[in-house]
Symmetry: D2
Subunit: 375 residues, 4 copies
């Protein structure tokens, strides 16, 4: 893996988006690598601007001196030796569209070795590398993307081939909420309250809905409240109207015969939402805390409330990589039911990446996507 | 159940300990009831003074105008119609020693109806009644105790018949920690750190040890540190020596190849211990919060730490009633290995109950037990 | 429970269908009982002729000298003392339509006592009684039905009030397959092969479909193959066309990228189907055996095949009673998607019960239903 | 992995045991390889003659033209690049004793990719290779053994360093039964009946015993019955005395208050034992079928019995590789309690491998071990 390709005169090259400091993005050109055994080289079909790219761009994130991007759909351009199928055993060939897991599962850390892939200790070993290091295309904001032998990837279902944008976020938000909700043991007939209707929240609402849950979404922005309904919310609670924790908890109890929700999902990313979630649950409820991904903000919290109400809390950052296969199936099954395509509201060629970043940062667009091959 | 027995001249009577206000305990005499179908009338063999009785005695607890007691071993004096076995299907007859679950599982609330017995909404329906209400003997501080048809009870294993005191706390502390540790999915080879070496902590240590875990106990009292070792602690951490959260967390990491514990158990009953527990765990660890049973005390808490470390939290108050059967088996198997009898350090006849309460409150004794039949 | 009501001149009476020998059915009239505490007296709205009633009628079943029926929707006519909600905590009052679990969970046997309700040792204690024993109306083929305090029951969701027939089989086939499929750990994206498209098979297909599985149904009758598609089968295999085990197994592999199914469900009720199911599964697959409810027929079977393919087998007769609540929610959610009403193709007043039995036995009707109140 | 070492004059060489046909074993000498990144080269400390080697030797097994052996303890002689810890994160260095998993988990097949490691489709990719293919030392019957980057390995616990023989079978029988029994959900207080007291059976008995189960072992050989007791059997059933299935089932019921066992473990390797196991279980029991590893023998079997008794069946061939870590901890904890060292009754230098095979085949020894470095 440390082997370096020798640049040659007639080698094919590609471009990628490199960031070396806050708001300092540049295009770089590198030779397109040949894949090692079990690896795959791809051309990037579509890749989104997610919140974490904005964090890096602002300098509000430890990653720097690296390639940007993680949500993507790619087209196989060269298969490494031994690669005959995707990670689910489906035959693949050059030209196929695939969704890659955006992090590796190294297979050598103590977590991978005991099957806790979602906790791989070396998940960003490649993604955080400088593009000067072979194979250069470490992240998908570029014309090419290198999928390592330690990354799961899945063929795009036929039903999605014409609309790859529907699946461009499958390897991030959707896989994440599917993994998390599965961990809560979500059952048919559960009532699930979703705190926040951003990308994670909408995907969580659709998935909970398809698993047979009754869904309640709490939000305070009109467009997001509307979208929540489009993504299957049975009820919404506008927190401008229900403007205290107690009012929202009371509203949830009204909607649940006085009990409270079976499952709550924190995807607001606000530390105080954690405490609120406990109030929304029934005795014996299960809580999925996903939104507060970065430590550093204390809240007032009473552990006795957890015990008194017999609450179980589970958490999720990243996911077991095979969940992405299920996520793609989910999209294929439900693409006509939920307006996934509306989640992306602006498309840019790769060269306009700075515009995409600026317009996203200024909230002129909700969710931008880059189309490198249209370049 | 609402039927009242008619007092008759030659009816057998018994005594019980009634509390009607802070430190106001009195003996009362009532006719011994006959059991309804599926119920059992018992004579109390041994019944302990647990922390919750002290809370009630001090007036620091909502229960009042009721009979005291919950930990007990009893002897069957009359079997109700249809009762041929205990709740595990073992044949029973008059004269047998049994351990009753101290709360009922009503079978009619929404929790019982979906098998979540440990959350029965009517758990104290009988235990909190005035003794003036038939069948009077609602709790085990008395000569008799009435085991309702909705209470599980189990025959004392033969191995414990000579030393019923070993099992007198089985229906409280031991069943509680077995239920809770089972909920964490404790596995052979896990490292379990126990925060606090009181009754719950010692039982948790012994059970974790027998399940094949490596155990670490954190305490600050010499006698409890010694006892922790007697109950199977592989390592102890004296928090007078390791006097900061960081020092204790570092010590746990030293004992676990740098990782942190797989499982932590909060049985200190101190709100701040909840936050400390998160620090003691490895990434991907599981936390059992049991000690903070009463809400009302806020701590500073950072929900982002839960997510960053992929921690799952589970909680336990009460237990699925069949766990008591396993608890008795556990004691029968391990009674020669751990000094359960040393947990009780003073024995009183029932008439000396006030002395027992006062000496327990003043910490002249660690754990007192009442022997009503020795009266 | 053994108390007998005293017949009085002006007491209300009802009728029930009593069977005392093969094809010997008679109407009997009894006083309508008053409910004990926690019990409910109902008028029967609709009750089906299921295969087991035909078995009893033919004399091909141990039950005899009893009231017939088990699938039913009933209307509450009198609530026993303490009954304020159904078994899910939903408020109920006289006049509400409910679905009762058709067996009791006694709460006293060793199985109930450890939460394994689906295995209650006394499940038919009441259902098998002679109607001469109070409260007479032990099974729902009658004008009235007595729901004991040990039977879970659930309010019919509002969405089903106009079409109770949709839910008349909820307490049998649908609850049964939901319980069984949950036991297999069915996951989003699994491929499920259903062996047989009778009532259990169609319900299993719909439920698997709603849980996000890809479904394959094997059948050999045209109308059933069509119905399988109406109930959500993604693929059907006609075993007249694929006329060997190997041909059917090969077809399943074709439909699953060569692997075989993740889950198989045996609801054909043919012993040989058990062996075939193993062939249909992928390595590591899970098998739900439900159809062969009565022992007595040996097949040739190679246990080494189970091990070689790492197959897990689970079984289901009856169900945890709270599953019926989920079943009703399932019907409310999907009643416009699957043609449940078509499963019942003939309706009879109670007095025509013999016609209903005969026409069912002669397969003139597929599934008959009785409407006692229309009498 | 395809890179070949260049033979050099002064290269170190080692020997291995090669089999090219029935009873045709020869010594071969190859250059000791250097490890690839993430791989480890070892010297073999001790390696056993297990039943599967006898099958290969007899020609009664598809493997041929390969190196023999799978149970082993090895000493690290050279660490590949990047290897700083074992698969549990414990630091390792040259000279450390380790236990390697005997099969690889390729990380690329569809089973590995979804975390079902115990079903890796390429498990024997290396183990079945000809020794002419680099790195030659594909199995542990040799002076050296090459541990691939896709094989988990674990440092021998300190407590076992002086007696590596205790752990020589950890990577086969013990890991296998621990994995299987964990799959059954074995709980404290379960009664476990073990069908057969060979290596798997004795390890299963010890593990079930340590998990708090009551154990019953069925055997028909005196020495094995004695050994079963040494390995923790609470009861043994001699099938010469209880000489029918019904007699044995009745005896199990006698030992379980009339119920039957909670868990049964088939490790007799006799197809008929599968059917017998169903009879030994209680209603609702769980069956672990492990012994019939090779298909090809039909028995008479009634699937209706499975359903009637609500039996779940699970199976196990191989294991999730991290179970080996737990197995080593188990041995370290219990080595003074169970006489593991007695399971090996003859030790041979590597050059006497044919004697070891012959004496094992003739049952002159029960379990032979080879000590290559003593050569």
């Amino acid at each position: 893996m440390s082997q370096h390709d020798q640049p040659t005169d007639d080698a094919e090259t590609g471009h990628l988006v490199y960031i070396d400091g806050p708001e300092s993005v540049e295009f770089r050109e590198y030779e397109v690598p040949s894949p090692e055994p079990n690896a795959v080289v791809t051309e990037v079909e579509q890749t989104n601007v997610c919140g974490s790219e904005l964090h890096v761009w602002r300098g509000d994130h430890p990653l720097m001196d690296c390639v940007l991007g993680h949500e993507a759909i790619c087209r196989i351009s060269e298969l490494g030796e031994k690669v005959e199928t995707d990670s689910a055993g489906q035959p693949v060939e050059e030209g196929d569209l695939i969704a890659p897991v955006y992090f590796q599962t190294c297979q050598h850390c103590e977590f991978c070795r005991r099957g806790e892939f979602y906790r791989c200790a070396n998940d960003y070993e490649y993604a955080g590398e400088s593009p000067d290091v072979w194979p250069h295309f470490h992240a998908p904001w570029g014309t090419h993307y290198y999928v390592h032998s330690t990354q799961n990837f899945y063929k795009l279902p036929e039903e999605l081939e014409e609309t790859p944008g529907v699946a461009a976020a499958a390897n991030c938000a959707l896989s994440q909420v599917m993994f998390g909700l599965n961990e809560t043991g979500i059952e048919y007939g559960d009532t699930v309250v979703v705190q926040g209707a951003g990308g994670l929240g909408l995907n969580a609402t659709a998935y909970a809905n398809e698993r047979g849950a009754e869904t309640i979404v709490i939000e305070g922005v009109d467009t997001r409240l509307e979208r929540a309904e489009e993504f299957g919310a049975d009820h919404t609670i506008d927190f401008r109207e229900y403007d205290t924790v107690e009012a929202r908890a009371e509203r949830v109890r009204e909607l649940t015969d006085g009990s409270g929700a079976d499952v709550a999902v924190e995807v607001a990313g606000v530390p105080e939402a954690f405490d609120e979630g406990i109030e929304l649950l029934r005795t014996g409820g299960r809580y999925l805390e996903m939104g507060n991904v970065r430590p550093g903000h204390d809240i007032d919290f009473d552990p006795g409330k957890l015990v008194r109400k017999s609450i179980d809390v589970t958490t999720a950052v990243e996911y077991d990589p095979w969940v992405l296969y299920d996520a793609l199936e989910f999209l294929a099954n439900t693409k006509d039911k939920y307006p996934y395509e509306n989640l992306l509201d602006a498309e840019y060629p790769l060269r306009d990446v700075e515009t995409a970043l600026e317009e996203s940062e200024n909230r002129e667009v909700t969710r931008a996507t880059l189309v490198p091959q249209g370049n």
